[in-house]
């Protein structure tokens, strides 16, 4: 194997097929449930529940080692049931600690995950010397091994994923109502407790499907990353489910793709290293990259958009301040004078001045900037807003005349034309501000 494998062969190649499809199914299941835990703000529950499966796995392997050595086909089912039961027990313990002992939620989660993992280690150590091969199988669950999956896993996981998807489709409105307002839903007469416990069972199922391919430790990441990414793109819950599922499937596939192909690539570059990258971490890294990109680039909530909006506003404030100042001085000003007066870094001032010239507010004559007609009108409007707001604070809110300036300095950039009209109606179109200065008329 020295050539990179093209992506369609991941679905046709008999060796890769099972692991690719089952990782994608697993990612789909966990990313759907991720949305539900995300809107409940309990993303860390996945961490506790995935660790809580470990003693169940160890015990059921212990059972298998004793009872079912002749029938290896039963093995996946027994494991699944064992993991399910112990994870549900963990869930019960968390709710018991939170409700009956009033332990804080983070301590309860941490308690359950460490205790259960400790019990798992305890049971597993029983196997370590008596059945070393079975012990290996338990260890597999800590980090996951997608590569060893068989077609029976695909069928099993397809059924479980289908159950989860159907649950979300049929109970969508109930989930939505509980997610946003639990008390109201209870008042409506929906069976909140039943749906909540169903949700928890399904989260446990998603976890149990997942640990086989990405492992106990990384499972919790898959219950967070896709939903966090989807949340950045939309406010709509149904779209969030779709996006999250999509991201899950993509990262499931790409994780497999990279873990196989990067290993091959590394083999070519550094034949001595003999590295084979594990699938689970690659899946999670892909999912995290998607989330990170969404957090930064998302159209409404992303970091870039937020920074751009803030920068845009700051530039607006700067331009309006310069305009106001030039209007008050009356004469033209050179670039250096402007910079000194406003204490602005020269390149930024250059941008601001260029913008103002583009907008036609100022023009340049003999190296001096002077206001154009349009600029004068704009400056008048800003001063009008400033003084109107001062009047409002003075007459209606009982401010002292000497305290109103600072607030007006900020508000003059924010007041919209509509608000200006309302203000001027309310104040009966005043002519003088509290400092006895003339308020320019509305039309400049």
């Amino acid at each position: 194997m020295n050539k990179l494998i093209p992506f369609w062969e991941f679905f046709t190649d008999p060796v890769l097929q099972a692991s690719t499809i089952s990782s994608m199914l697993m990612c789909l299941a966990s990313s759907i449930m991720a949305v539900i835990v995300f809107i409940k703000r309990r993303s860390l529950i996945g961490e506790a529940l995935s660790h809580a499966t470990y003693p169940g796995i160890a015990l059921s392997v212990l059972m298998c080692a004793g009872l079912f050595t002749k029938a290896p086909g039963v093995f996946p089912f027994v494991l699944l049931i064992g993991a399910l039961i112990s994870s549900l027990l963990g869930m019960r313990l968390i709710t018991f600690m939170e409700e009956k002992l009033s332990v804080k939620s983070d301590s309860a989660l941490c308690f359950v995950l460490s205790t259960f993992l400790g019990f798992g280690v305890f049971f597993a150590s029983r196997l370590q010397f008596s059945h070393p091969i079975w012990f290996q199988k338990i260890q597999m669950f800590l980090y996951g091994q997608a590569a060893t999956m068989l077609s029976i896993h695909v069928i099993l996981y397809a059924i479980l994923t289908l159950i989860i998807a159907l649950f979300v489709v049929f109970l969508f409105y109930q989930i939505q109502a509980i997610g946003f307002d639990k008390m109201y839903t209870k008042v409506l007469g929906l069976r909140v407790n039943l749906i909540e416990s169903l949700t928890l069972i399904l989260i446990v199922i998603a976890v149990v499907i997942g640990i086989r391919s990405v492992g106990v430790v990384l499972m919790s990441g898959m219950l967070i990353a896709p939903a966090a990414a989807a949340r950045q793109l939309t406010n709509n819950l149904s779209k969030m489910f779709l996006f999250s599922g999509l991201f899950g499937v993509i990262s499931g596939f790409l994780g497999n793709y990279f873990s196989v192909n990067l290993s091959i690539y590394l083999m070519q570059v550094r034949p001595l290293w003999r590295v084979s990258l594990p699938t689970g971490p690659m899946i999670l890294i892909v999912a995290a990259c998607i989330t990170f990109l969404c957090l930064i680039l998302a159209p409404n909530r992303g970091l870039v958009t937020r920074l751009y909006r803030r920068q845009k506003f700051q530039l607006k404030v700067l331009r309006e301040n310069i305009l106001k100042e030039m209007y008050k001085t009356g004469s033209g000003q050179s670039f250096i004078q402007l910079g000194r007066r406003h204490r602005i870094f020269a390149p930024i001032l250059l941008i601001v001045v260029c913008l103002m010239r583009l907008q036609g507010w100022i023009s340049k004559e003999n190296k001096l900037y002077i206001l154009s007609d349009k600029g004068t009108k704009k400056a008048c409007r800003i001063i009008r807003l400033h003084r109107l707001w001062e009047v409002y604070l003075y007459t209606h809110l009982g401010y002292l005349a000497e305290n109103v300036h600072k607030s007006a300095e900020e508000m003059e950039h924010i007041i919209t034309p509509n608000l200006e009209k309302k203000l001027s109606q309310l104040l009966k179109d005043p002519k003088l501000d509290p400092h006895d200065q003339i308020i320019p008329a509305g039309d400049g």
């Binding site: 019990f119 049971f123 909530r301």
Partner: protein
Amino acid sequence: MSYWGLNFFGVIKHFFYTFASFIAGNCSIENLAIDEIQVLVLVFIGISCALIGSFLVLRKMTMLANSISHTILIGIVIAHVILQWFFFKDIEKPFQIDMQLLMLASFISSLLTLFLTDFFNRVLKLQKDASIGLVFTVLFAIGIVLVTIFTRNSHIGSEIIMGNIDMVHKDDLKIALFLLLSNVLLTVVFFKEYLITSFDSNFAKLSKISNWAFTYLLLLQTSATVIGALRAVGVVLVLALIVIPPLTARLYTNRLRSMILLACLTSALGAIIAVALSRHFLSVYGLPLSTAGLVVVCQFFIWGASVLFAPKKGVLAKYFFNAVSRVTAANPS
């Protein structure tokens, strides 16, 4: 092996006998049997964890301790690479926890965890639980990939998770002792600051005590303890020792000082019982069991018993209290 073939009480008796002769000066460090080193390492680490854990539980930061327990992997890898590339030029050297690596790795992992979690939460505006979870799982994933590349083996797992208490030697005892002393020292010196920042961050601000600095110091202590305890007892056990004893102690008392002392006591007790039990199983039933796992199991049962029987907050006490008050409500005479 002086503990071969002893049962539960025999081990405890023998341990205290050796301990007493050690105090009396009849026995030196070189003469300690591996079982005694085991008990001492477990007790030292247990007390360190209980000290840190009490504050972590109060500050609702145990999930960050859980993060640290995952991110130490990447911390160790980075520290190893830095040390080997820049100081020893020997990248092929296997991982080994010594003092330099411990210091550097704990700095790196606690800084990375706190900084990134804060960055996701504050700058990228991701909700808090999701940012904690995302950061540590991803750092752990990257850590595994790096370890795979450097050691050509992705199955470093079982050692890190369970530790290998049966292989401890005197170096581990030194590291554990160093951790214990520094944790005790820091807790005693900064007790007031920790107390104030844990309970009232606004008052801390007014008193010019940096909330951030003490949060970071606590996390630094946590990561140093986790890494120091890694080889001996593994990540799970450290986490269990951080959470369980303080929760047990919390059932008995509302005062911070007595809670910390009780937590130290329970974790030391749990360690001794666990080692004694593991010897008991080995010599009486011939079952080799993981001592680290047994410690967690013992701590859990101590907690469970406390939940049932604690004087005021216990389930039984509450039940009786309710029953009595119902009876008195029914017959006021």
